[in-house]
């Protein structure tokens, strides 16, 4: 059964980002989305630490330690880019000015609850960063995630068991097996990878699935 790679998931997300969108990309896999945006679309990337119009990674030797992204990695600004202080940057987030935020997840529930900041392990310090602000503030919250944990536990559930980041916030899930909308307290499968049956997808999902009438095969380039 063919699973998508992280790059392929990132590619699939990128196809859904429309011209002119203001987009925030979370730390980790979501950062890769920027690499696959179609060339004919102008999209403005926001980073919580005050960048609007964030550009790609600079060439080696041209990194500026004072120009970093939310993951604290060196980045650039595109022409037209701007800097805001933190309070204004989060006003953009909370105030509903960001069209799409792409985040990772530990768990997502069928009602759109997101758990991505803390587990039940109390020995390590939790860190929330900007995740809770992004979860409630962005107009659309897209999640990139593996369908199951490394030990095979489903991450799409009726109800999250981990502490929540936000409730009723996730609008769409891009997993390595399917593209699933979260609507009216249901997971609605829009696209499913080749050679995976509906039954097989149900088996690895911890909640009921509704298959859209127009559900199609999830196709991506080899990446």
């Amino acid at each position: 059964m063919a699973k998508l790679t992280r790059k392929q998931i990132a590619w699939r997300v990128a196809q859904d980002i429309p011209e002119g969108a203001y987009v925030n990309l979370g730390i980790g896999a979501p950062e890769m989305v920027v690499n696959y945006l179609p060339d004919d679309r102008e999209v403005i990337i926001h980073s919580e630490n005050g960048l609007l119009g964030m550009g790609p990674t600079p060439p080696p030797g041209e990194e500026n330690p004072d120009l970093i992204n939310a993951g604290k990695k060196p980045v650039t600004l595109v022409d037209g880019g701007s800097i805001s202080h933190h309070t204004d940057s989060f006003a953009m987030i909370r105030g509903g000015h960001i069209d799409i935020c792409v985040l990772g997840a530990f768990q997502v529930s069928q009602s759109g609850d997101l758990a991505n900041w803390a587990t039940l392990d109390n020995s390590r310090p939790p860190g929330v960063g900007g995740a809770m602000d992004l979860a409630v503030g962005a107009k659309n919250v897209f999640v990139i995630t593996d369908h199951c944990t490394r030990d095979g536990q489903p991450k799409l559930l009726e109800k999250c068991s981990y502490p929540l980041t936000g409730s009723g916030v996730v609008t769409r899930v891009y997993s390595d097996h399917a593209l699933i909308d979260v609507r009216d307290n249901s997971f609605i499968v829009r696209e499913i990878v080749e050679d995976l049956s509906e039954e097989e997808l149900r088996e690895i999902t911890g909640a009921a699935l509704v298959f859209a009438d127009d559900c199609v095969t999830l196709k991506t380039p080899d990446l």
Partner: protein, 222 residues
């Protein structure tokens, strides 16, 4: 003549005490006032309460204060990163109190503290453990959590340029929490790359007006 420039760390840290609450700007290492923090370390102050986005990383500043066990508590949004083992060890050993605040709430609480606002309702953290025990109010059908202002004895900020009135410019994403923290502390101490003459900064380009700034010191990156 107003002159907020100081020329040594003893003057910059005038009024510092054990147990002081210090807002420390910076997002990771960008904009972190490492030299001011290390001057606090060198002078032996302890039981400090730090308000900062991160609880130290790398080898400088907050991490050094943590290593020497000078910090009693950190209020932050994201305590650790890939290179903050000391923070993880102290936390696991029960030697570090952490208060986790969502990043936007942390910033807005400081803004409230600096802007004379007694509290505010935010949608961030509704229905999460970080809202436990807090008042929730429904406004136009949406739930919000009541958050209170944050203030401090000192704000430590790193900026690019300062004039003798304390007007500041910053460097790209090193701006971060600086402008907000500058408003929220009793004493705002700024380390800058360079002093400029009054009038050299275009009024349209002043990011933090000097009214929020108490002392500025030129510090060469070390």
């Amino acid at each position: 003549m107003i002159d907020k420039r100081v020329y040594d760390f003893d003057s910059a840290l005038d009024g510092m005490t054990d147990g002081a609450t210090i807002m420390s700007a910076g997002f990771g290492a960008a904009g972190a006032p490492q030299e001011l923090l290390e001057a606090v370390l060198d002078r032996g102050y302890r039981d400090l309460v730090i308000i900062s986005n991160n609880a130290g990383e790398g080898e400088r500043g907050l991490i050094r204060l943590l290593k020497e066990k000078r910090i009693a508590k950190v209020v932050c949004s994201f305590p650790t990163s890939s290179n903050s083992e000391v923070t993880k060890e102290l936390y696991a050993a029960g030697l570090l109190e952490l208060e986790i605040v969502p990043q936007g709430t942390l910033s807005e609480r400081m803004r409230a503290g600096g802007a004379g606002i007694g509290g505010f309702y935010t949608p961030t953290s509704v229905n999460t453990p970080l809202a436990e025990g807090k008042e929730v109010r429904t406004i136009d059908g949406k739930d919000y959590v009541l958050e209170f202002p944050l203030t401090a004895d000192f704000a430590f900020i790193k900026a690019r340029e300062a004039d003798r009135w304390g007007n500041l410019t910053y460097n790209l994403s090193a701006r971060g929490f600086g402008p907000t923290m500058a408003m929220a502390a009793k004493a705002t101490i700024v380390q800058v790359d360079r002093f400029v003459e009054l009038g050299e900064i275009d009024p349209e380009q002043v990011i933090t007006p000097g009214i929020y700034v108490d002392r500025v010191m030129e510090v060469e990156a070390s």
